[in-house]
Symmetry: C2
Subunit: 396 residues, 2 copies
DNA sequence: CGTCTTATGCTCGGGATCCGAGCATAACTG
DNA sequence: CAGTTATGCTCGGATCCCGAGCATAAGACG
């Protein structure tokens, strides 16, 4: 049901201002003149809006480097006292975090290893405690300037919380402790989903309206994005493409279903094809097999690449993306000839004349962190959030 | 990439007015007071906006039936000289059409059978000619009041045209002839997609944010809708869920791929399970088998229902819809016990605690027509379209 | 070196939307 | 018939947007 939500004048008045900030994010370092032309602002309105944004400590203007004739213009930059977001990327052995300004530029990325010394150093409580301390330090430093904390997690997401993080061995985890009591919103997303968002906004799919991102590490995850926004489903749990039954129905998946694609495209699948036992670290095993040149390894890679290609084709049939971005082990797997064959064979003839292009993702391991930044800034630059910021700022 | 499109003041000024029309569509016969409360308008603004809409011949107000205390309010109705859209639903043996007013109320639904007397009476040229004549008659009657023509077709859609309509035996067909030269936009959608839109807007999924609609006739089609809008993909070809390879990889599908789900859930599948040759009319055959009570028929139905349930579960895993609406043969197939078992077994354990509810679609055969109405009215009540209408109307 | 061209920023008046407050109106209640 | 209640209408003020005109600062050119 399309919600008819009132955008009251109090927030609507920041509509154009929010557009300006969005352009500043899309093109960091853009000049005021170029911004105005891109949005279609008259020069008078550009003057007014930028003045308003400056007064609200949302941006600053500095003289732009001269280029050609005409009166010099200015470059739009985030205000040094402006809003920031804290992005966190939770991984298997460590977690990364960084503070981002309104144009998406990151501060230093801090890397914290989980405390593997203690027996429960990787327990939810221990990890969340550590992250909470960083959140508190960030809040102490930035105060109300901290407008959102966003978390990318290697977990199935359900209604804003972690439902299951199998690589960490976590069951359901409530993440609200991270910002509880601070009055700062917490945004949570699946790491593969957020990597897809990063590709759609600042990566290999920026020109696409509808983009499909798939990443293979242990199993396969990803997301469909439309105009840079992920299709997240009713509880935010969408994108579990690895649990489509493209595979062998006799194989049970840890997720509870059978025949999952997950089991066909990673190191576990390679080991099966090679007649080896299930590897302890499927990702490391996959890299090893990909580096081998013997026939049995090549055949195993070909089989797995074919499964990947066929699955990608199936998702192109179902979703008709403009582009497919691949990450993780999917990048080397795509190099195998079997991938392309299976991709083309799996397409409906309808798509064969002009199949969706497949490209490598440009964000590597930092895709989820970049996506978390996007998530946080989407919130921080929304019209209500800007209106709220401006109100607070004026009253001080 | 999120497009930063300028909503210039000239169209933005109709933002609130468009909201009023949207509420009038969602709740035909709503009172002005209820509308104002729902959108959050002050009484003064409600007066202004409705006056503007009346002046633009977009709606009329009549005294509302009295209920309780207080000053009587008015009921909002489409203006008798207001915009209309023509919706067309193309089917195998016939095509339906109807004119709809701004609140979605239909005029009479005309049913035209294809001319099966002549050898090429069902050719694209003959059918499009017949529809074109109706479009012209509608245009003669309504003139510029006709704001859009929308077509629901049993075809794969690609970039606004029909790529392949296998039930009609059509290859690629250019539909632009339907409105060429009239200056009326033509909107084209897949019939299953539009049936899903109808369910999401006025049917069984009105309360859901993310809804999955699936319909089984010959093969399976459907769509994912988010807030009532279909996820259409880059070329409008999304929703071909029938061509996900959930089935037997040794079976070739007419679509060009192998192992398509399409082949597992309809009359063709029932015939295969019964050891019969492929039926000429799979839909009729399916109904016949569903009506049988012998063991072999029951087993065939169970096998097909299980395939349907497993596929639905897979799509719930991938898309996390709030609700799944089923249409066509999926409704009786769901009654088989095997469906529910396969559905639950196919879900990730994450979803088992609170699986997406599955319901029957409430629009039957007229779902696609209703969806075409939605498509047309979405266009006709968009802010630019209303601004354009108001401009034309003022200048007369 | 002065003038022209070009691109951009700034100012100001007018039109439009939205809001809030106050008043007017038309039903029901007792 | 007076009081209550819900709603419509009017009006002034705040804000945004637009367009036109003017101001400004650079390069281009003789």
């Amino acid at each position: 049901m399309p919600t008819v939500s009132r955008r009251s004048a109090a927030t609507a008045r920041w509509h154009t201002a929010a557009q300006v900030l969005a352009v500043m994010r899309q093109h960091p370092g853009i000049s005021r003149a170029a911004m105005a032309q891109r949005i279609g602002l008259t020069r008078g309105l550009a003057t007014e809006v930028t003045a308003r944004l400056r007064a609200a400590h949302l941006l600053t203007e500095e003289p732009a480097p001269l280029s050609g004739r005409g009166r010099p213009t200015t470059v739009l930059r985030p205000h040094p006292e402006g809003p920031v977001v804290l992005a966190v990327h939770l991984r298997h052995e460590e977690w990364h975090c960084a503070v981002a300004a309104l144009d998406g530029t990151l501060g230093t990325v801090d890397i914290h290893r989980h405390d593997t010394g203690s027996p429960d150093g990787r327990s939810p409580a221990a990890v969340l405690d550590a992250i909470r301390r960083t959140v508190e330090q960030t809040y102490e430093r930035y105060g109300h300037r901290l407008r959102a904390v966003s978390l990318a997690a290697p977990a199935a997401i359900h209604s804003g919380h972690l439902a299951q993080a199998s690589t960490l061995g976590w069951g359901p985890v409530d993440t609200s402790v991270l910002t509880a009591g601070l009055g700062v919103p917490l945004l949570v997303g699946n790491d593969a989903t957020l990597a897809g968002v990063a590709e759609a906004r600042t990566g290999a799919a920026v020109t696409a309206g509808t983009a499909l991102h798939l990443i293979v590490e242990v199993g396969v995850g990803g997301t469909l994005t439309v105009d840079g926004h992920p299709v997240t489903g009713g509880h935010g749990a969408a994108g579990e493409y690895g649990h489509l039954p493209f595979g062998d129905r006799t194989l049970a998946c840890p997720c509870g279903a059978r025949g999952c694609w997950d089991l066909e495209v990673d190191g576990r699948a390679l080991a099966r094809h090679l007649g080896e036992p299930e590897p302890g670290d499927p990702r490391r095993h996959a890299l090893a097999v990909l580096g081998r040149t013997d026939d049995s390894a090549r055949e195993a890679v070909a089989a797995v690449a074919a499964s990947l290609g066929a699955g990608v084709a199936a998702l192109v049939n179902a979703h008709d993306p403009d582009i497919v971005t691949l990450g993780g082990l999917a990048i080397p797997l795509r190099r195998a000839a079997a991938f392309g064959v299976a991709y083309r064979d799996g397409l409906m003839s309808l798509h064969r004349a002009d199949p969706a292009t497949i490209v490598d993702a440009v964000h590597g391991d930092d895709g989820p962190l970049q996506g978390a930044v996007v998530l946080g800034l989407d919130h921080a630059t929304s019209e209500p959030a800007i209106a709220d910021w401006a109100d607070r700022h004026r009253s001080r």
